[in-house]
C-alpha cells in the first residue's frame, strides 16, 4: 500500500538533487562581483524606500489585491463556461450573468466607498 507512493518519494529526492546541484555547480562556474546596487532587492525597477523588515506596509495593497483576485477568479470561471456553453443551454447562460452581476455590485461597492482612491 505504502509502496505505491515510492515513485513520489523518488521524484522528490530527484528534484531536490537537481535543484541543489544546479545552484552548487553554477556557483563554481559563474564570476562573483557583488556591489551595493546589485545587492538591492528587486522592486519592479523602483528604488526601495525604507526597510521591509519593519513590517509597515500599506493595508491598501491588500484591498487592491483582493479586488484583483475576484476578477481573476471570474475569468477562470468564464473560460470553461464559454467552452461548454452550448451544452448547458439558457440556464447556464443566465446563471453566469447573475454571477457577473454580483461581482459588479461588489466592484461598484468598492468604488463608491473609495477603496480605489489611492490618496486617503
Amino acid at each position: 500500500m505504502l509502496l505505491d507512493y515510492l515513485p513520489v518519494l523518488i521524484m522528490a529526492v530527484f528534484v531536490a538533487f537537481i535543484a541543489t546541484m544546479t545552484l552548487f555547480v553554477s556557483s563554481l562556474v559563474r564570476p562573483s562581483r557583488p556591489y551595493p546596487k546589485k545587492n538591492q532587492p528587486y522592486e519592479c525597477g523602483v528604488d526601495p524606500i525604507g526597510e521591509a523588515s519593519t513590517g509597515r506596509i500599506r493595508i491598501h495593497y491588500f484591498v487592491i489585491a483582493i479586488l484583483f483576485i475576484i476578477f481573476d477568479v471570474e475569468t477562470l470561471y468564464l473560460f470553461p463556461w464559454a467552452v461548454v456553453l452550448k451544452e448547458i443551454g439558457l440556464f447556464g447562460y443566465i446563471e453566469m450573468f447573475i454571477f457577473i452581476f454580483l461581482l459588479l455590485i461588489g466592484l461598484i461597492y468598492a468604488w463608491v466607498k473609495g477603496a480605489l482612491e489611492w490618496e486617503s
Partner: protein, 471 residues
C-alpha cells in the same frame, strides 16, 4: 439528481434583499432605513419558507430540506428579526459603516440557514465560513474601542484554528471513505472502521466545539461577548451557537450515527466538563455580558447531554432547549441593549433598582435569566427536564446528576442580578421611557417564554416528529 432550485427560494429571497440593501446603501442617508429593509426581507423570507416544500434535496444532493431544517431556519429568522431590531436601537453608537452592519448581520443569517440544510462537507464548510467571517467583522465593528478590537482578534484567531481542526478532520473522513456527501460517508462508514476514522471524528468534533463554545474551544467566549457590540453578542449567543448545534446534530446523529460508540465517550466528557466550568466560572462575574457568556458555555454543556444521549428523545430535547434558549437570550439582550443606551454600562451593579425605573425591562431580564436558569413555569425548565429525561433514559445518570446540581448553582448568579434589580434601592430613580414598539416586542418575547413553559405540548409533540429525521 436534479437541481431542484425551488427548494432554495427562501435563501435566494434573502440574498436578493441583501443585494438590494447593498445597492440602497449607496443612496440612503439614514442607515436605519436599511435595517428596516432588512426586517422586511426577513419577513418575506419567512413567508417563502412557509410556502416552500418541506422535503427534498437540491443542488445534486449538496443541500437537503426536511422539517428539522425548516424548523431551524425559522429560528434563525426570528433571531434575525430581533437582532436587526436591536441593531436599529444601537445605531447611534456605531460610528463607521452603519449600513454594512445590517448587511453583515443578514449575511451571517444566510450562512446559518444554509448550515441548517447542509448535506455535504463542502456546503457545510462554506456556509460555516460565510457565517464566521461575517461575525469576525461584526465583532470588530467598534474600531475606536480597544475591547472590540481585542474581541474580534481573539475570535478570528481561535476561529481560524478551529476551522483548521474541522477541515483537517473532514479531510481524514474524506480520505477514509472517499466521499464528501453525508449520505455516502454514512454508507461507507457502515462497512468498516480504522484508526484514521477515529482521528478524523475527533478533529471534527473539536473543530465544532468552537461554534458551540464548549470545552476545549470556549476560551474566546467571555472576551468576545464582552467586547463586541451588544447586538453582535446576541447574534453570536443565539445564532452562532444554534447553527453549531444544527451541524453537530446532523453530523453526529445522521452521518456518524453508525459508529456512535466511537464518539459518545468523548461527548459525555466534554458535556460534563463544560457544564461544570460554565456554571462555576459565571459566579464571580461583574459584567452582565461576561456572565451570560459563561452561562452560555453552561448551556452548551446541557445541549451536549442531548447529543450524548444520541436518541430521538435527545434530539427533540435539544431542539426544544434551543427554542427556549433563543427566546431567553433575545429577551435578556433586548433589555441589555435598551438599558445600556440609558446607563452606558454593562456592569451588573448598574442594574441596581431597575424595577423602580422600568418595571417592564426588569421583568424581561428577570424572565429571560430565570428561563436560562431553568425555573418553572418558564420554557427553560421544560427544556432542561427533557434533556435530563433523555440522559436518564440512555443510562447517563452521572451526567444528569451533574446537570441538576449545576442548574441549582446557576440559580445563584442569575438571582444576584435579580436581587440588584428588585431589592436594592437605586440612587437614580428617573424612569426609562419605552416606545410602543419596544414595549410590544418585550411583551411578545416574555409571553412566548412563559407559553413554552406552561403549554409546551403542541411544540414537543411536533418536535418529536421532526426529531425522527435525524436518525
Amino acid at each position: 439528481m436534479p437541481l431542484n432550485i425551488h427548494l432554495l427560494i427562501p435563501e435566494l429571497v434573502l440574498l436578493s434583499f441583501i443585494i438590494l440593501m447593498v445597492i440602497l446603501d449607496f443612496f440612503v442617508r439614514d442607515k436605519r432605513q436599511i435595517g428596516v429593509v432588512g426586517v422586511v426581507g426577513t419577513v418575506v423570507t419567512g413567508l417563502a419558507l412557509i410556502l416552500v416544500p418541506k422535503k427534498g434535496s437540491a443542488l445534486m444532493g449538496l443541500v437537503i430540506q426536511d422539517p428539522a431544517a425548516v424548523f431551524f431556519k425559522f429560528l434563525f429568522l426570528i433571531v434575525a428579526l430581533s437582532i436587526l431590531y436591536m441593531a436599529i436601537l444601537y445605531d447611534e453608537r456605531i460610528k463607521h459603516w452603519k449600513g454594512e452592519f445590517y448587511i453583515l448581520i443578514l449575511f451571517a443569517i444566510l450562512g446559518m440557514m444554509f448550515l441548517a440544510s447542509a448535506y455535504d462537507f463542502i456546503t457545510l464548510f462554506v456556509s460555516l465560513e460565510l457565517m464566521a467571517v461575517s461575525l469576525y467583522i461584526l465583532a470588530t465593528y467598534m474600531k475606536d474601542d480597544t475591547r472590540s478590537i481585542e474581541a474580534g482578534f481573539k475570535y478570528l484567531v481561535t476561529g481560524a484554528l478551529a476551522s483548521g481542526f474541522l477541515l483537517y478532520g473532514i479531510s481524514f473522513l474524506y480520505g477514509y471513505t472517499g466521499y464528501t456527501g453525508f449520505e455516502e460517508v454514512a454508507g461507507a462508514l457502515g462497512q468498516g472502521r480504522g484508526g484514521f476514522l477515529t482521528l478524523g471524528l475527533f478533529l471534527v468534533i473539536l473543530g465544532l466545539t468552537f461554534k458551540l463554545s464548549s470545552i476545549p474551544f470556549y476560551i474566546w467566549a467571555p472576551d468576545v461577548y464582552e467586547g463586541s457590540p451588544t447586538p453582535v453578542t446576541a447574534l453570536i449567543a443565539a445564532g452562532s451557537k444554534t447553527a453549531g448545534f444544527v451541524v453537530a446534530m446532523r453530523l453526529l446523529f445522521t452521518v456518524l450515527g453508525p459508529v456512535k460508540e466511537e464518539w459518545i465517550g468523548l461527548v459525555v466528557f466534554l458535556s460534563g466538563a463544560t457544564i461544570l466550568l460554565g456554571n462555576l466560572a459565571a459566579m464571580p462575574q461583574k459584567n452582565i455580558k461576561r456572565m451570560l457568556a459563561y452561562a452560555g458555555i453552561g448551556s452548551a454543556g446541557y445541549l451536549l447531554i442531548g447529543i450524548a444521549a444520541a436518541s430521538i428523545l435527545g434530539a427533540e430535547a435539544m431542539m426544544f432547549y434551543l427554542l427556549t434558549y433563543i427566546f431567553a437570550i433575545i429577551g435578556s439582550f433586548l433589555a441589555i441593549v435598551i438599558f445600556s443606551r440609558v446607563s452606558g454600562s454593562d456592569s451588573i451593579d448598574a442594574y441596581i433598582g431597575l424595577s423602580r425605573r422600568s418595571p417592564l425591562l426588569a421583568a424581561t431580564l428577570f424572565i429571560g435569566l430565570l428561563s436560562l436558569a431553568g425555573v418553572p413555569p418558564l420554557g427553560g425548565f421544560i427544556a432542561k427536564f427533557y434533556i435530563f429525561a433523555a440522559a436518564v433514559k440512555e443510562g447517563l445518570i452521572g451526567l444528569a446528576v451533574v446537570g441538576v446540581v449545576m442548574a441549582i448553582v446557576s440559580m445563584y448568579y442569575f438571582l444576584l442580578v435579580v436581587k440588584r434589580m428588585y431589592l436594592i434601592e437605586p440612587e437614580v430613580v428617573e424612569p426609562i421611557e419605552l416606545n410602543l414598539l419596544t414595549r410590544a416586542t418585550l411583551y411578545g418575547v416574555n409571553i412566548v417564554t412563559i407559553l413554552l413553559g406552561i403549554y409546551p405540548g403542541p411544540f414537543t409533540d411536533w418536535l418529536m416528529e421532526v426529531a425522527k429525521d435525524f436518525f
